[in-house]
Assembly symmetry: C2
Homo-oligomer: 229 residues x 2
């Protein structure tokens, strides 16, 4: 009887959007036993969490947890507050400055929960789908942030102190354009229809087609020459 080594465990942050879903599909393809982590953080649209559950089931994760965290108590973002989501902006407007859809310290918080779960699972691998298009606008998507986070995380944990495991934050989409992410997702067989990107969907969950996230998604599919859904 052949000995089969158990798969390495990975904690994968999953919003239900195209990027995090592609990131999870990649971790799964690379042979990790995936533990998907989503957050209920008072975001205005709950359709995102439904998308995350569908994706986690379709990819076949070991477990999917939705952690409830009260980020709305602090306010300060169009995604949790009553600030309007900007519509119909051109690409150069989007890349200029930090958007109002920025949620303060969001990735810092998300990665901290991933770190806690990784420590309990004995996992040394965390996947997050940040990418180049975001890091012009969101401070916590930049490579220097991820590097500083990984360094801090290795000082924060039992494994880091005892020196037997070096925790790695995987960012496989970091330098990809949206078109490249679409092509990668297509190659991985991701069902695009299961994902959700819009910042401001209608009551039935249909994308608005005009927010930054919808516009970037449409542009990515167009440039990749692939049809969305």
């Amino acid at each position: 009887m052949a000995f089969i080594a158990p798969a390495k465990k990975a904690v994968c942050l999953l919003s239900g959007g195209l990027d995090s879903s592609t990131c999870l599909a990649l971790a799964s393809r690379d042979g990790y036993a995936c533990y998907a982590l989503s957050f209920d953080y008072g975001q205005r649209h709950r359709i995102e969490l439904e998308a995350a559950a569908r994706i986690a089931a379709a990819i076949g994760v070991e477990r999917h947890i939705v952690a409830k965290i009260g980020l709305d108590a602090f306010g300060g973002s169009a995604l949790t507050d009553d600030i309007d989501v900007p519509k119909g902006r051109e690409a150069d407007e989007m890349s200029h400055g930090i958007p109002v859809t920025y949620v303060p310290a969001r990735n810092t918080i998300f990665l901290s929960f991933a770190l806690a779960w990784a420590e309990v699972l004995g996992s040394a691998d965390i996947f997050i789908g940040v990418n180049a298009l975001d890091y012009s606008g969101y401070p916590d998507c930049r490579p220097e942030f991820i590097e500083a986070y990984e360094r801090m995380a290795n000082l924060a944990t039992k494994a880091g102190v005892e020196g037997h495991t070096k925790l790695k934050i995987h960012t496989p989409l970091l330098k990809l354009s949206k078109a490249e992410i679409v092509k990668l997702a297509h190659k991985l067989g991701l069902d695009f229809a299961l994902t959700h990107s819009c910042y401001d969907p209608d009551a039935a969950g249909r994308p608005c087609g005009q927010c930054d996230s919808c516009l970037l998604r449409a542009k990515g599919f167009h440039e990749a020459g692939i049809e969305d859904r």
Copy 2:
């Protein structure tokens, strides 16, 4: 009419224990407008949160938020799980290795929420009551962790990216012994009876007197020559 500059805002992590209460009292004494932040993280004893609310009111904070976070979903600690809290240990046993009361990535998560609130408030100052007695056992109480966290935090936020504010993590108790903390709290006029330290109180909220936290507290008061309550 004299111009009075508004007080600088500080976010102060407050568990309701002796250390975090002393830390908050210190920030207040130093003239900060204090925003106290506690967590409902599925800890087994809720008396801690009641203590935090009493302390916040007694010290006179601008606002006290209790953020609900589902750390118990991950498990892995005697403070959230059904693991027994150790009793009657000697000081050298406590300082050896990482205790079962360690909550994975707890300070990393707590500081991340503090960071989010600080960013929304426009505050550049976060206070956390970690100290020397803890950092022998808890990886996320060590000075090198705090330094790495501060560095990461400055890369994670708008203020850090735009370069106008340098966020500082204040750890005024870092190098104090428990006796020194007791003396400092006494000098600041902290009402010890409002604080709660025990890991395993009875149903009425009375401390067990035998867990590490109770034993360290008793030792600190004894060495300081000050009466508890």
